[in-house]
């Protein structure tokens, strides 16, 4: 038994380049299996269903017998008057969310990192990520009440605005702002966790050295902390780019109304109305496929550029 480590070591010495230690790592591979199987079943197998995007799908005929209509559903999506509008709405809302959703957690975690009072730090951390666990159905109701013409916010606004309320959720421009702000408020705390973890991993000796060289907190943040967490920022940014066409169905669906269709109707709410309410499965699938293809291209691009410009690679 005691010899075992020795033998292992010898093997390592004999074959220093390979990392595949079948005998030693078998437990790890076995643990990998459920993940792989689940991915296959739930992520790859359903891709077969994409064929209905090219069919006039009828549930009782199934994927094999439904009529083929080639690109009709894609054509229908782009021939609509409002399709450009909907795609723009989606891009504007989601890119605002992505940008703010990246910057605010970074700034917040940098600030939190400077706090030396541990109890305060932990309390704040817990408080800011709590909203993440609320559902949009509940938050939607609360927001509608808060922002209504006789709501709390408007009782302040009226004092500044000559007694006139602002109809936040009935005005397209305000609607976008509300959607972005409320989403950031809900999610930034949760996003902070990753960055705080990265910050905890920065080698303290770097800071000590910098202090010896006479760098203040600000210089340390700029020259040590930010470069140290840059790879994480790139990963989070790259991964979130794949969601550029997801502007947040739950949230918008619970807040929107016909008055803000022109500024707030996004691809997902549109798919819900056509696909689920009106029973156009094929059409909804076509739109979903379009979204996925764009998302895939964006991730690939972002990954490629992060490799090229930030020298960051996962694979």
């Amino acid at each position: 038994m005691e010899n075992q480590p020795l033998i292992e070591q010898q093997k390592v010495i004999r074959q220093p380049k390979t990392h595949f230690k079948w005998g030693k790592n078998i437990a790890l591979y076995v643990m990998l299996i459920p993940g792989i199987v689940l991915t296959l079943i739930f992520s790859y197998l359903p891709m077969g269903g994409l064929v209905i995007a090219f069919q006039d799908y009828k549930p009782w005929l199934g994927m094999l017998k439904s009529n083929w209509v080639q690109w009709d559903h894609f054509a229908m999506m782009f021939l609509r008057d409002d399709s450009v509008q909907i795609i723009w709405n989606t891009l504007i809302i989601s890119s605002a969310k992505l940008t703010a959703g990246l910057i605010i957690p970074i700034v917040f975690s940098l600030l939190l990192n400077e706090v030396r009072q541990l109890f305060f730090k932990k309390t704040v951390q817990t408080l800011v990520y709590l909203p993440h666990f609320l559902s949009w159905v509940i938050l939607g109701g609360i927001l509608t009440d808060l922002l209504s013409s006789s709501g709390l916010i408007n009782s302040w606004v009226e004092k500044l605005n000559h007694g006139k309320p602002i109809l936040f959720l009935a005005d397209g421009d305000w609607f976008r702002i509300i959607v972005v702000i409320s989403d950031i408020w809900k999610e930034f705390g949760f996003a902070t966790i990753v960055f705080l973890a990265a910050l905890a991993g920065v080698n303290p000796s770097l800071y000590e050295a910098a202090e010896v060289d006479g760098a203040g907190r600000w210089k340390q943040t700029l020259n040590i902390t930010l470069p140290a967490i840059a790879p994480i920022i790139v990963v989070v940014g790259t991964l979130s780019l794949g969601n550029i066409l997801n502007a947040g169905f739950d949230q918008i669906f619970n807040l929107y109304n016909p008055l803000v269709y022109s500024k707030g109707d996004i691809i997902d709410t549109f798919v819900y109305r056509t696909g689920i309410i009106s029973g156009g499965f094929s059409f909804a699938t076509a739109v979903g496929m379009f979204k996925s293809v764009i998302g895939f291209i964006l991730i690939a691009l972002a990954y490629w550029s992060s490799g090229k410009f930030a020298n960051y690679r996962i694979f």
């Binding site: 074959q15 380049k17 390979t18 990392h19 595949f20 079948w22 591979y29 299996i33 792989i36 199987v37 296959l40 079943i41 009828k58 549930p59 009782w60 005929l61 199934g62 229908m76 609509r80 008057d81 409002d82 509608t144 209504s148 013409s149 006789s150 009782s155 309320p165 109809l167 959720l169 009935a170 109304n257 016909p258 008055l259 269709y261 022109s262 109707d265 109305r273 056509t274 309410i277 009106s278 029973g279 156009g280």
Partner: protein, 569 residues
Amino acid sequence: MLDRPKKSLMVLLILILSFSVFTACSKETNSNNAGQNSSPEASKAPEAVTEDNFSKGKFDPPVTITTSGCTNSAYVFKNGETLENNVHTKWAKDRLGIDIKYNWVTADDQCSTKIRLALSSGERLPDVMRMHDQNLINDLIEADKLMDITSAFDQYASEELKAIYNQDPSYWYGAARDGKKYGIPILNFSLQNDPLMWVRQDWLEQLNLQAPTTFDELEVVMDAFIEANLGNVKKPVGMAVGIKNGYATWMSDASWIFGGYGVIPGYWNKWNGASELQYGSIRPEAKEALAKMNEWYNKGYISPDAGLSDESKASELFTNGSSGFIFGPMWMAGWPMRDVLQQNNPDAKYKAYPVPSGPSGKSGLHGSPIPDGALMISKDFKHIDALILYLNTLAAGAIAKDGEFMYGWHEDYDYTMIDGKPSYNGDDVPGGQVYPEKYFLMQAPLDPYHELNLMKKIANNEPIDSPRDQVTAENIKTDEAARIRYETDLMAEAQKDRGLHNLYTGAATKTLLEKGEALKKIEGETFSEIIYGKAPIDNFDSFVKKWSDLGGVQLTSEVNDWYKSVGGK
């Protein structure tokens, strides 16, 4: 050096492959199981014609009817019962020899999805399925999964059942296709969802005002209510209206504003003597109504939040004392009036009146359809005679003068006997009141006009023969809620000629499936923007043009073709 990782990779691949084979196998066995489950039933020789059983009124040996159950959080049970096993399933088995089996029980909102899944996976459907989703009914008919029960209905249905269903051919439009009946329609009470004008009666009395009968009078009363602010709120509004989900809605309705000009938006009818069915939202009358709503919005009669409020949200304006008017159906007397308004303010009094008439002297409201979904019958069902026997028995029970159902469905469930007299008070029933109707395959067939006729009889002091109805009549004298219900019923009856109906109740046409959402979207956008004053009223004309160009013309002709095909005049 490299072959080792390669080898391990191979092993990994083999492992993955073998897993996928494993899953594929298990899938196959699953479907095999499913096949085995259904095949014995399917291959069971159809039982010898059970004509005897039908006339005997009991099936021996018992036959099975499978169905699907939809529950929600409001379902309460007693005595440890479940949907699958309860007082009603026992009764059906003992009394009729019918074994009610549930293939699945799921939440309300999952019901249609579950049937769609069964449909696409080729799973055997339940024998009878309660459905309210017209698109799903159409899909099932088109998929040839349903049984034509036309002749069976003629053969087995009792006189009572036939009398209920044959009084108006439009009851069958949803559940039939090309003259073939595929299911038993579920019928609402007549006028059940017609909007009435609910007013804060105590405010009217305090300000010494009369209930308005025209739009002009309504404006005067709304002004007085806003001025007086008897609810003592920060921002009183004229009326509680919510237009987020449309204009003809189930509560906080706005259709009567359009009705005052003679149309209902979203409804198909021969408006003001047109020769064919037209879409209400594109008629010039709708433009006038929108101009009026814009005026009312500017005057503060319509809340700035109306566009974001659904039916319940908007009703809060009435129940929290911001507004003295709300338009909704007769059953609002219970909820939200008694349950919310009077909880908030025990002194609040409310009363329903007919909706006021528009500037043209007309008044109108969205008529509520009587058929509301149907009990659809699967093609593989073997015992249609048993089902109709069941429905015959329930139809007779609902109006029974004597016998087991004379006071209610099951003693100590929906009613209890106290000193030889029935009580329907929930507090009296030992173990709590539980309505057995929810265990039924579908609600007991009852003449849609039954309640209104009863109320008229009570009003005219005519004799009432059914004990259940006698109790209703007595309750009106003693119980506040029952009395308001009675008055409201009569009020709805009084305005029944003003109901403007949607004559298009059939399957979604091709254009509606393809373009329906786009058409609805521009309508919702244009209407809200005009009311909020974000767009000039003349945008209505460009909306009409856009609507027609986008497929509206074709839709109109398809709807008219459908209407002719069902024999509409």
